[in-house]
């Protein structure tokens, strides 16, 4: 039970509690403006000085019917007076705008938590759509929570009586009413949101007026509630000095690309085709024409990467962005970039697969596709961003590698990172290292596949340069001259060279950073958006006196040079990822390490507790099974009938039981 729930139960507390941190989730119909309410709440939190982490969880690609379960949109915010890294495991406060929102989100709420519901929405029809036989507001269903049932729709209408707008439009303001109420509850200023409304709507636009008024009404309604221990205050966190802004992963990726363009002096070309959850990068970059960013919305993903390859050939900082299905389509063209050794950055904002899968949900299941998903031996560099703001740094690094080493680079993000927001301490401009590129100039004896002795990069001779006219293409090249070659030994040599070009990156990059114990019982290995949950779990486990550390990898191909050595320092290696064990396989193959996987494939990020429990289990101290699937045995039985037992066996066989570490060779 969190401090908040505990206090709420105590029932007798000062008017406004000071709490360390709180997790709030807004939930409602996708038409209810939940994402907007959530964003406003987090902006205000940031203004007030909290550290925050957010997790917007949209309904899927489809437009959901009002009041239905799949139509529920959620936005979770973790606010804290200290440093936090995840949007929180389970909300302390849930705002549910209708029965469906309550139904889907209640299981996540902590016991004893606070539920604010729009009681007006609990109509027989809506209850039925949500699959409630009885109205949960009247029975015992919510007895273990603190319920604040507010007729939000009615009160909102009443408060907006004087605004001249159709009823339908007035009703759309109820998210602001709810937001106002939550602001009251957390003792937040209304100004930041009022300012936003002012900027967004013309002065005389009644919609702006209605929203502002609804917000105030909600706040004032709070004042009238007669219930104890409802209000709390989360103090400001101490941040390192600097200038901050709030940023999502997709926003940071876009900024990182534009920054790389500035740092390299190469114009940014972004070729893409819209796809969830990567489209926001397109939208963002489309608005940056003054930076010389040329955005090309192509007819499909193949044309998008094709255009990017053409732009790279022409001397641009060429980037193409997509999600998993689009990456699959780009496979063949990536091979062309490998063969022609052109600089190219490929963004994959991963989503839950296979196939169309669950397009708005997060997953980390494109790693092996990124590394191996092409014909022939065609190595590329693969990186993954760890947090929303790390998307900026990772984008910079991907561009740097691509441009300095003349290679395609795949950057993996995911739906969670892409949409989640956090405060970001802006880098000092002076700390941003320029990206150095030198194009060869006119001269004799030009060899398009001559190589830099250190980086093995070939020269980037761009059209328009006199005397360097040359031909490149997808057929095997003779090293040096770049002429088409079918010589068997040249081919073997070039295959080795292409591998080596990438392998050498491990000499350029920082060694993998180990967080927590330097050696000991358990090393959790992670990559991508799971970093926050993993590091938080390490903190908790270490507080529990366990010898645990985490190694989070930004570079997946090649791996940093020290990985094998670090693995060897721990008794157990647990590889935590939102897939069925993709990094796990790479580590086992390369280091012959008997690592175990902690895998979750639910379209959701890890909860901290899942990692904590897994480590305790691994050390024989846990109370539940390690493998996620086993937890849902009942569910599985339903589907597979007699098969489920052997299903588990087969899976266990796949990577073996939690085994002792076999040191890497």
């Amino acid at each position: 039970m969190s401090a908040i729930a505990a206090r709420a139960e105590a029932g007798n507390t000062p008017e406004i509690d000071e709490v360390d941190q709180v997790v709030v989730r807004f939930a409602g119909d996708s038409g209810d403006g939940i994402q907007l309410a959530g964003t406003q709440f987090s902006t205000t939190a940031v203004v007030v000085g909290n550290d925050i982490a957010t997790f917007p969880d949209y309904p899927a690609e489809i437009r959901a019917p009002a009041g239905s379960l799949p139509g529920v949109s959620g936005y979770q915010i973790h606010l804290s007076s200290h440093d936090i890294r995840t949007p929180g495991d389970s909300p302390n406060v849930l705002v549910a705008m209708n029965p469906a929102a309550l139904k889907t989100n209640l299981p996540a709420l902590e016991r004893g938590g606070i539920v604010i519901v729009n009681s007006d929405a609990f109509t027989p029809l809506n209850l039925q759509k949500a699959g409630y036989a009885d109205n949960p507001l009247s029975g015992e269903a919510l007895s273990s929570y603190r319920v604040i049932a507010v007729p939000i729709s009615t009160l909102n209408f009443k408060g907006l009586e004087r605004v001249e707008l159709p009823k339908k439009q007035l009703d759309r303001c109820k998210n602001f009413f709810a937001l106002g109420l939550v602001y009251w509850m957390f003792d937040r200023p209304l100004e930041p949101t009022l300012r936003w409304i002012q900027a967004k709507f013309r002065n005389d636009d009644p919609v702006g007026e209605a929203n502002a008024q609804a917000l105030r009404e909600g706040y004032h309604y709070g004042e009238t509630i007669e219930a104890p221990s409802m209000r709390m205050r989360v103090g400001a966190a101490t941040f390192p000095p600097g200038v901050y802004r709030n940023i999502t992963g997709n926003g940071a990726l876009a900024l990182g690309l534009v920054a790389a363009s500035a740092l390299s002096g190469k114009p940014l070309f972004y070729g893409t085709y819209p796809i969830t959850p990567a489209s926001d990068i397109l939208h963002d970059l489309s608005r940056r024409k003054e930076y010389g960013v040329r955005v090309f919305q192509a007819e499909d993903e193949i044309a998008a990467i094709g255009a990017a390859i053409g732009a790279a050939y022409g001397g641009a900082l060429a980037v193409t962005g997509t999600s998993g299905p689009g990456l699959a389509l780009k496979s063949e063209a990536i091979g062309l970039a490998v063969m022609t050794e052109l600089p190219l950055v490929i963004l994959d904002v991963q989503r839950a697969g296979p196939s169309t899968g669950m397009p708005t949900k997060t997953e980390q299941s494109d790693l092996l596709q990124a590394i191996y998903g092409r014909n022939g031996e065609s190595p590329v560099a693969v990186l993954a961003a760890a947090t929303p703001s790390d998307c900026f740094d990772t984008a910079l690094e991907a561009c740097r590698l691509a441009l300095e080493l003349m290679t395609p680079v795949i950057l993996l993000s995911d739906a969670y990172l892409g949409n989640a927001a956090e405060p970001w301490k802006l880098p000092e401009l002076s700390s941003l290292r320029p990206i150095t590129i030198s194009h060869p100039r006119a001269g004799n004896g030009f060899l398009p596949y001559a190589r830099d002795p250190e980086t093995m990069a070939r020269p980037w001779a761009i059209p328009g340069t006199p005397q360097l006219e040359h031909r490149i293409g997808g057929l095997e090249k003779a090293d040096g001259s770049g002429q088409v070659s079918y010589d068997p030994h040249n081919h073997e040599h070039m295959v080795a060279v292409r591998a080596e070009r990438i392998a050498r990156i491990s000499q350029r990059i920082a060694p993998a950073f180990v967080y927590g114990a330097a050696a000991g019982d358990v090393l959790i290995v992670s990559w991508g958006g799971t970093k926050g949950a993993v590091f938080t779990a390490v903190d908790q486990l270490r507080k529990q006196g366990l010898s645990v550390a985490a190694m989070h990898l930004r570079h997946l191909n090649p791996l940093p040079g020290n990985v094998g050595e670090v693995l060897g320092r721990f008794r157990h290696v647990l590889v935590a990822e939102l897939n069925r064990g993709q990094l796990l396989m790479l580590l086992r193959a390369r280091y012959l390490v008997g690592a175990t996987g902690l895998n979750k494939v639910q379209g959701l990020p890890f909860r901290v507790s899942e990692i904590v429990d897994a480590v305790r289990e691994l050390l024989g101290r846990g109370r539940r099974h390690l493998r996620k699937e086993e937890k849902h045995g009942a569910h599985e039985d339903r589907g597979t009938g007699a098969g489920s037992d052997s299903a588990l066996d087969a899976r266990r066989l796949r990577f073996g039981p939690r085994s002792a570490l076999v040191p890497g060779m």
Binding site: T43, V46, V47, F239, P240, P241, G242, V243, Y244, R245, I247, L255, V258, A259, A262, P267, F269, K289, E290, Y291, G292, R294, F296, A298, E299, D300, I302, A303, A304, G306, A307, A308, I309, G310, A311, Y313, G314, G315, A316, A318, A333, G335, L336, T340, K425, L426, P427, L429, P463, G464, T465, P466, L468, E469, H470, R471, I472, G473, G474, V484
Partner: protein, 318 residues
């Protein structure tokens, strides 16, 4: 060089090699982008920049290049398979966008490089390795396709008609916007003689009509036949005798509507060669540059500091 002896690709190469230097474009500013196919080996035989890419994607790759570097003269060389089968969509969209590419489609009505399967331009009934009982697909007419895709310059010429080819290449080179040229090309190995009646000296003048802007559509060995409009159809008529010329249709490559060009593209006897259409329309790359300039003009700052520190709400922690 690596085409079969007698391949028409040599003829095209010869004419391109002859024409290019006369265009006044510095060699280093010319880029030839090709896909995969016999035709697509073209860049290797030119002393310009060249990119032999992957099957069907040359128009997309060239589009990216042209957007990034509008000042370059970007040529696409493709085949009937490369350009109209796997690459049909990219070709369509490049033309619709009016990207300033010069697209040469070598049409030999067969997949040459993969050794002789029917292609999207093969005739119904064509027997090939993959259609031993004859193809059952209605062919695409490349010129009609380009017109429907709104290409702003569209022409057709036989590879062996060197003079006309030269003339068309020069016009394509200076056209602002996309230029599409269908080049009828004999493949002596897998589809020998498919255009013979259009190129053989004995039959050529009776089987083809040369389109000339502003001139009546007259053809035939004796220049005694012509084309006239019959409602919405074309009809062959005599070009001699009383009032003949007034009956004849006059070619207008600049007609605002593509209807005439479309009608002419579908003629089968005679087959029309020359320039079907040549109209002006804003190019894609100009649009890109225009918006870029206007964004800059709006006075928006564009440096790293603005990007990071001024683009959004920030706050300072001391």
């Amino acid at each position: 060089m690596r085409w079969c002896p007698g391949c028409d690709d040599y003829a095209i190469l010869a004419q391109v090699q002859k024409t290019m230097p006369a265009l006044g474009i510095p060699r280093e500013n010319i880029v030839i982008v090709s896909g995969i196919g016999c035709s697509s080996r073209f860049p290797y035989y030119m002393a310009t920049y060249g990119f032999h890419t992957i099957h069907g994607r040359a128009p997309a790759i060239a589009t990216g290049l042209k957007i990034a570097r509008p000042e370059l003269s970007v040529w696409v060389v493709t085949g009937d398979g490369d350009g109209l089968s796997i690459g049909g969509n990219h070709l369509l969209h490049a033309m619709r966008r009016n990207v300033g590419l010069k697209i040469l489609l070598f049409n030999n009505r067969v997949y040459g490089l993969t050794k002789g399967q029917f292609s999207p331009t093969s005739e119904v009934g064509k027997k090939t390795k993959s259609s031993p009982m004859g193809s059952i697909e209605r062919p695409v007419n490349p010129v009609s396709f380009a017109l429907a895709a709104e290409a702003t310059f569209v022409a057709r010429v036989a590879a062996v008609d060197q003079d006309l080819l030269g003339k068309i290449l020069r016009r394509a080179a200076v056209h602002r916007g996309v230029a599409f040229v269908e080049i009828l090309q004999n493949c002596p190995i897998f589809n020998d003689g498919t255009f013979d009646s259009l190129t053989d000296r004995r039959t050529k003048t009776d089987r083809t009509v040369l389109l000339e802007h502003g001139a009546p559509l007259i053809y035939g060995r004796q220049r005694d036949r012509g084309l006239a409009l019959d409602g919405l159809d074309l009809r062959v008529t005599t070009a001699t005798g009383d009032g003949a010329t007034s009956r004849l249709l006059v070619h207008d490559e600049q007609a605002p509507s593509a209807t005439l060009a479309f009608l002419l593209s579908r003629l089968e006897d005679p087959v029309a060669v020359g320039v079907f259409r040549a109209v002006e329309s804003p190019t894609f790359e100009d649009g890109v540059l225009r918006q870029e300039r206007s964004a800059a003009r709006e006075g928006k700052q564009a440096d790293l500091e603005t990007l990071l520190y001024r683009g959004a709400d920030t706050w300072k922690v001391e």
